[in-house]
Each structure stands twice: as structure tokens, then as C-alpha cells.
């Protein structure tokens, strides 16, 4: 029986499909498995993670060799392009750091000089005292003298200002006295160390030295580096001032600011002694 040409073509196509099915079955099965693995997150992660990890480890070990040149070039270009921006960002911080570093170094130097001088022969110290030429040590210690900027006498519990004197007028001194008292109270309460008191607050190149008395305390804001000896001298001076000028006065005040005490502070700490004794 004869078949029509169109029937022949259909049969060929079917045969071809069957042939494809036979030849490509394994490849198609493999392809399906791969599709499942790619589309399933967990299966894909199980396959891919070791490879990624291997590459990451390789990168960790060889990053410098592989990419150093490229990154250096990128940084160089970025620095060149944004030089002004970078300098603007780091300049204030650098300035403060350098200043603080210098003050700290001066402080260490002064303390070391004080130790050295106290150990040297008294005759040499006597000679140095009367010599018209200052020796190196004296010059160095005078370079960054600690200077009293402000002094406050504050009622201990209430934080009410009793008297004050300063080189320059600052923000409201009643508020400073209140906030200092709050800080002092907080530190002393927070650490609950019996019979211990906050003695120093430092901010940048400034220090606030605190000397506590029974019903009041004295806060002294100081610029420059303050050595241990200077701190000791200041403390002695404050005790002497308190004994001579405050003991009989303070209890009478009862929350009143005293112009008289402020005048005495001004006279004692600014007009008679513009700088701390070394």
C-alpha cells in the first residue's frame, strides 16, 4: 500500500522525537536534577558553599598579592580627588590629639624633672635659684605653666554657688556650679566608694581640680599641665585659704551668694598669684 508524502513526514518527526528521547534521556535527567538543585536554596547552598568558602579562603590568604596594587591605586586616586574633604574631616581631631599629647608629655616631663631636682644636691638648687641664667630644667618647667582660669566655691549638697572668680566671664556660673555638683554626686553615688570623693575632671587640655570640705567644695578650672607637686601645692593653698577666709563665713550664708568671698578669691588666686607655684 502506498503512503502519502505528508504521512511520511509525520512518521519521520515521530521517529526523530523517539530517537531524541533515547539519545538525550540521560542528559535531560541530569538537566532536571541541576534545575532542582539551582532552584532549591538549601540544595544550592550545599553545593555552592564549599566552593565559595574555598575561594574566600584563597582570597584571605592571597588578597594582598592579588589585589594590593589595584587597591593602592584606588586609594591614591581617591586621596588625590578628595584631599580637601579628607583634611577637613581629620584636621580638628588631629589638632586636639596633638595638643593633648603635648600637654600629657609636658606633664610627664615636669613630674620627672621635679623628681630629679628634689634628688639633686641642695647646693646646686641654691646656686640655680640665685643664678641670672635659668637652667634647662627651669625653662622647660615654665613652658606650659598651669594657670587657674576659674574658681568656684559651691555648697556641697545643693550645688548653690557661694563665691566665684575667673580670668574671663564664662556661661552662667550658677548653672556650672549646679552641673558640677550633679556630676560629682553621680560619680560618688555610682561607685559608692565610702569616704572617697571626685577629685579631678579632665576635658581636653583643661582640668577641674576639686577639693571637698564638710559643707562646701572648691572647684578650680586649670589650663596647662598640672604636675603632682603643683596639685599638692594647690591643695595646700586651698586648705589655707579655707581656714583663713571661709571657715567663719560659709555657714552664715544659707544659700546667699557672697560678693565678699568672691572678692577674696579674686585677690588671692588672680591678683596675688597669677600662676600656680612650682
Amino acid at each position: 500500500m502506498m503512503t502519502r508524502p505528508s504521512e511520511n513526514i509525520d512518521n519521520e518527526a515521530i521517529l526523530m522525537e523517539r530517537l531524541k528521547d533515547i539519545i538525550l534521556r540521560e542528559d535531560r535527567d541530569e538537566l532536571e536534577k541541576i534545575k532542582v538543585q539551582i532552584n532549591d536554596d538549601e540544595l544550592f547552598a550545599a553545593k555552592a558553599t564549599p566552593i565559595v568558602e574555598e575561594h574566600l579562603n584563597f582570597l584571605k590568604e592571597n588578597f594582598k598579592n592579588e589585589y594590593a596594587a589595584i587597591i593602592n591605586q584606588m586609594i591614591d586616586e581617591k586621596l588625590k580627588d578628595s584631599q580637601e574633604q579628607i583634611i577637613n574631616a581629620i584636621y580638628p581631631a588631629m589638632g586636639t590629639m596633638v595638643k593633648k599629647f603635648i600637654v600629657n608629655e609636658f606633664q610627664k616631663l615636669k613630674e620627672s624633672l621635679e623628681r630629679t631636682v628634689s634628688k639633686t644636691n641642695p647646693i646646686n638648687r641654691f646656686r640655680s635659684f640665685f643664678s641670672s641664667k635659668k637652667d634647662n630644667e627651669t625653662i622647660l618647667t615654665s613652658l606650659d605653666k598651669a594657670t587657674i582660669q576659674e574658681i568656684y566655691i559651691i555648697q556641697r549638697d545643693s550645688g548653690i554657688l557661694i563665691g566665684t572668680a575667673s580670668l574671663e566671664k564664662t556661661i552662667d556660673q550658677d548653672v556650672i556650679a549646679g552641673m558640677l555638683t550633679a556630676i560629682k554626686s553621680f560619680v560618688e553615688d555610682a561607685f559608692k566608694q565610702s569616704n572617697q570623693e571626685l577629685q579631678m575632671i579632665e576635658y581636653g587640655t583643661y582640668k577641674i581640680f576639686i577639693q571637698s570640705f564638710y559643707t562646701y567644695y572648691v572647684a578650680v578650672a586649670i589650663s596647662g599641665s598640672l604636675s603632682a607637686l603643683e596639685r599638692d601645692n594647690l591643695s595646700t593653698d586651698l586648705f589655707k585659704f579655707a581656714e583663713q577666709e571661709l571657715s567663719s563665713e560659709v555657714h552664715k550664708l544659707n544659700g546667699h551668694f557672697s560678693e565678699q568671698i568672691s572678692e577674696k578669691l579674686k585677690l588671692h588666686f588672680f591678683e596675688q598669684k597669677p600662676q600656680l607655684k612650682n
Binding site: 545643693s158 549646679g178 544659700g255
Partner: protein, 161 residues
């Protein structure tokens, strides 16, 4: 001129800082920013011809002993205990808190203030008044400024006499 330390205390969010700002700067801010630690400022008022400098301490958060340093309260001549009229939780410890404050301030004048008056009706106000353990001295609104100046004048008068 005489100075007196006055403390603003009470639970968080009752409006202590808003009362502080209304009294010191005559302003109110809708934004709520929690106070960190303590904020101190002063205002001088005239009480019957005498100048009185009020050193106002706005203390963050609670009254409870374990949350605020006790020393913040020392030396205070006046204490303003603020409660929020819209939140009963802010006056549930009123009696105990006042007892504690009396103990640590020894003779300081204590004023109990119901704040946020602008948010409650007269009926609700009457209801709360019967609910709380101790009577308030004044109801205020830091937002509108109602009774804020009055509060400090009353307190100031008692502080100088």
C-alpha cells in the same frame, strides 16, 4: 539675692522637662526626648519684692532609690513631684514616693503636680482626684503654660518665708 535648689521628679514621660522648658524658656516642644541624667538651669523670680534665684534640677526618669542617685535630692529646698493625669501608672506609687522624698530631703517643701491638664476633661479630672492617694497641689499644662508660672510663684513664696 537668695538661691534655692528645686528638684523636678516623677515617672518618665510625665512632662518634667516640658515644665522645665516652659518655666525657664517659655516654650513647649511636641517632640519627646528622654532626659539623660540630669539637667540644671536657673531662673530668677520676684517674690514679694525679693529676688529669688531658683536652681531647677530636672532629674531623668523615676523617683525610685535604685534608679536615681540619692545625692541629687540632697540640699533641695523644694521638690516638684509631677504625675501625668492621662497615665494612672504615674501615680500608683505616689504615697510611697512622697514618703521616700520626705525622708531624704528632711524638711524640703514638696508640691504634687498633675500635668497634661490640656488632655483631660473636667469630669475626668474630678474622677482622678478621687482616685489618687494624696491630693495634688496644682494641675498644670506644660503645653499651654497653664499654672506653670503660678506653680513656681507659690513655691517661691513658701521658700522665702
Amino acid at each position: 539675692m537668695i538661691s534655692k535648689k528645686v528638684i523636678l521628679t516623677g515617672s518618665f514621660g510625665v512632662g518634667k522637662t516640658s515644665l522645665f522648658n516652659q518655666f525657664i524658656y517659655n516654650k513647649f516642644d511636641e517632640k519627646y526626648l528622654t532626659t539623660i541624667g540630669v539637667k540644671v538651669n536657673k531662673k530668677t523670680i520676684n517674690v514679694e519684692g525679693e529676688e529669688l534665684s531658683i536652681l531647677l534640677w530636672d532629674i531623668a526618669g523615676e523617683v525610685a532609690q535604685d534608679k536615681v542617685p540619692t545625692s541629687y535630692f540632697l540640699g533641695a529646698s523644694g521638690i516638684i513631684y509631677v504625675l501625668d493625669l492621662t497615665r494612672p501608672s504615674t501615680y500608683k506609687n505616689l504615697k510611697a514616693d512622697i514618703e521616700y522624698l520626705k525622708e531624704i530631703t528632711q524638711g524640703g517643701i514638696i508640691k504634687i503636680i498633675g500635668n497634661k491638664k490640656d488632655l483631660v476633661s473636667e469630669e475626668k479630672l474630678f474622677e482622678i482626684k478621687n482616685e489618687i492617694d494624696l491630693p495634688w497641689d496644682l494641675v498644670t499644662s506644660a503645653k499651654t503654660g497653664e499654672n506653670v508660672e503660678q506653680l513656681f510663684l507659690i513655691l517661691g513664696r513658701e521658700l522665702v518665708t
